[in-house]
Symmetry: C2
């Protein structure tokens, strides 16, 4: 299996056809008789032939690789990123593409490099921020791209994301249905709002709008991620609003600390305080008690991003914005 690699010429000789015929069998770009096709395919598997990626990309101007660009900062919680990543890889493979992983360390220059060197055909950017340095570059690039998340100025770009506003609103609606009148949102750390991360803000907007719509009383607070800070926030919140009975938590790292704080403060979940989280399913399931939650559909988002970028590669039209509908899973915490 080692040694020098098998080339298309050897396959052609083995099958008794021309090199171009082998190529057409593989690409399906011209009709080939069933008989010839079979002989070629047999030779391919007999010899263990794998086309040389570089040669292919040189001749066809397609590398069959897409770039997956990691976020500038780990604003979104890390496990979620990993899911996006595996979802993107899996989806890309279905389209016969591989995935090149790019960190943000290199910044826009790295994106330009892989695009200009034809290493990749297209790009998927994860966890885009409102004012993302990489976004202007994407506009001038010939290669198609899809963003996961929304920048402030999405005109001319293709963006996919969970509809966080709807997610925030969905949580409020659920609490309202359950009869809660006074609710609060514990969100991302303050610094995340300050640097304008879209999903944090959009959740808060959805929350606030829904609170008004349902005629509830509500407050939205940022939430740090150490136990002591979470505890202080929760304690302060409950002291200031004794009647508060519904909590929306949109912060994966803090979810368990919130529950711990409530226990320590003697509030039972869900009897005294109902809790809805926006977080991955496994975090919600492992919590004590298991949390009613809106999951972050990483797989779905990743798949959709790849689907869109593939359509763009084929020159097809795609919608500028794709918002995925949030789904609420009811568990023991409400």
């Amino acid at each position: 299996m080692s040694g020098r690699a098998v080339t298309i010429a050897e396959v052609a000789r083995h099958a008794g056809v021309a090199v171009s015929t082998v190529s057409y069998v593989l690409s399906g770009k011209r009709t080939i008789s069933a008989d010839t096709r079979r002989r070629v395919l047999d030779s391919i598997s007999a010899l263990g032939y794998h086309p040389h990626a570089g040669a292919r990309s040189l001749a066809s101007k397609r590398s069959n690789v897409i770039a997956l660009v990691l976020p500038l900062r780990a604003g979104m919680h890390v496990p979620v990123l990993m899911r996006f990543a595996t979802a993107v890889v899996t989806a890309a493979r279905r389209f016969d593409h591989d995935v090149l992983l790019l960190t943000a360390d290199e910044g826009p220059e790295g994106i330009r490099r892989v695009a200009a060197s034809a290493l990749v055909d297209a790009l998927v950017l994860m966890d885009v921020e409102l004012h993302d340095r990489r976004v202007p570059l994407l506009r001038e690039l010939a290669e198609p791209s899809v963003l996961i998340g929304f920048p402030a100025e999405p005109a001319g770009l293709t963006c996919v994301d969970l509809d966080f506003a709807a997610a925030g609103a969905r949580c409020v609606a659920h609490l309202a249905e359950r009869g809660h009148r006074q609710v609060a949102l514990l969100g991302a750390p303050a610094v995340v709002y300050e640097r304008g991360t879209g999903f944090a803000r959009r959740t808060r907007e959805g929350f606030t709008a829904a609170v008004a719509e349902h005629g509830l009383e509500g407050v939205a607070l940022p939430c740090e991620e150490t136990f002591d800070e979470v505890h202080a926030t929760v304690a302060g919140l409950l002291a200031a609003r004794p009647a508060l009975s519904g909590l929306v938590v949109h912060n994966e790292a803090a979810v368990n600390h919130v529950l711990g704080s409530l226990r320590q403060l003697g509030r039972r979940v869900p009897r005294d305080v109902a809790v809805v989280a926006i977080c991955p399913d496994d975090v919600a399931e492992r919590a004590g008690p298991p949390l009613t939650s809106v999951l972050i559909p990483a797989e779905e988002v990743g798949r959709e991003a790849v689907r869109l970028v593939m359509r763009k590669l084929e020159g097809l039209d795609v919608p500028d914005a794709t918002l995925l509908t949030p789904h609420l899973a009811v568990r023991a915490s409400t």
Copy 2:
């Protein structure tokens, strides 16, 4: 910046030299006069030239890409994987290489594919298990590879990992120094031990050996990851061993639940029970109270893996096994 890409021929014409001269300026494989070099470099940046990756890989038989293969299952906790991944990417860029991300979905066949198609020059496998289906393939591959983690039969392979046995022992030694006589290890979920994941077992072995060496009493238990199960385990443990005063936790997902259970059971940390964790630093820092911990040095492991694989690419000798020394950070929990 878009439109047809700049080729080496255009750079050569612009600089008034031969194509080969430009190539030699770029690769440094032949001496070039300072004057010519400058002219060529000026032309390169004036035209914004980026060598075509496919053409380069075809001509040079080097793609300058390494594959990063994700684990078969998410045995190790996910954020740690993400760190490995970014560390590998960052380190690879220092060697002028990019990183192709491969999931385990494809299994060994995916590895063979990217190797045989010359898409990648070398491979780094993350989180290798004791009996890993992908390992036999690596032995017959011409491309060099490095494993993060150890399979049962590591002969002929290059492996890197944190020295988990030493990490387990280090935790025990720390508790012994603090005067604890009865200690316990809460490890990975049972299923992880059953499928023979190396790092979980090695930590347990190190723990057990150190317990004997220090003349302590100790027990090692697997530990599930939902709050209720963790709580049951912790409660059972404390009931069975009232004198237990030191706890080693090697399970990221359960760490916060362990602390929550102790709180709920009225045990103060560290006064009643001291806790040492083996987990990433940020998890330890965010816990309540912040945990004394042995961190999993993902960055270091990733960097080392890349360094080794690059040496192998150059045909240099590398050690079969690289074990990184664990470091203990003392915080409030002991």
